[in-house]
């Protein structure tokens, strides 16, 4: 599995757009970039997954440049309820286990 690197923490304010960047320099051809969100005392929750270019769903957007060595999770207009830890993972199709790093702890302030 490709190693991913992301900031330890970020702060934002309600209504702002938040971009969390993840580096994955040794990503393999078969790897997909996947983001999970975890609230305190809850299990991780899948947010979004992509291979390259841009993917958007009702929660977030994911931007992956052509070289795929990094990716950016974009959360539009965050609210206090978006305060959580966000994990970036590089997954090969069919790979069994998820390897979580420390993630990015996002704090949204009023």
């Amino acid at each position: 599995l490709a190693k991913t690197t992301q900031p330890i923490s970020m702060d934002s304010y309600e209504g702002q757009e938040v971009n969390i960047t993840c580096s994955h320099n040794n990503i393999a051809t078969n790897d997909y970039i996947t983001w999970y969100q975890q609230f305190p005392s809850q299990g991780p929750r899948f947010i979004i997954q992509g291979y390259k270019t841009k993917v958007t769903n009702e929660v977030a957007s994911l931007f992956i440049p052509a070289d795929r060595k990094s990716s950016t999770l974009s959360l539009p207009r965050v609210s206090l309820s978006d305060t959580a830890v966000y994990y970036c993972l590089a997954l090969s199709g069919g790979y069994n286990k998820l390897i979580f790093g420390a993630g990015t702890r996002l704090a949204v302030h009023p």
């Binding site: 996947t34 299990g43 991780p44 997954q49």
Partner: protein, 113 residues
């Protein structure tokens, strides 16, 4: 929307006792997992289970741990003789064959005294 459920939400036990943590995965899912998270630390993979057998396990998953799918709906994690360091949140997850997206349950907080 279907969810993974786990019981109990909180389990307190004495060191050396056996505990069984229960999970009901999403009904059409075929792959099952257990993870744990010690307070303030990363989520760690314990074991994966498919077709009624363990497909992969981590170093943490030693002889004190076992998993079972006793019927068509439940998936259990047993710790035979708990240690203080087993205190953690234990998460069950499941997925279908078609995607690698894992759906996690709300967790069981295990406290070993």
């Amino acid at each position: 929307e279907p969810e993974v459920t786990q019981t109990p939400s909180h389990q307190v036990t004495q060191m050396g006792q056996e505990v069984i943590l229960r999970c009901v995965p999403i009904s059409n899912h075929l792959y099952f997992y257990w993870y744990r998270q010690i307070l303030g630390q990363k989520v760690e993979f314990l074991v994966s289970f498919y077709n009624n057998e363990i497909s992969e396990k981590s170093e943490i998953f030693d002889d004190q741990f076992s998993v079972e799918r006793p019927d068509g709906s439940n998936f259990t994690l047993k710790i035979r003789s708990t240690k203080l360091e087993d205190s953690a949140m234990y998460f069950c997850a499941s997925r279908t064959y078609a995607t690698d997206t894992q759906y996690f349950g709300p967790g069981t907080r295990l406290t070993v005294l």
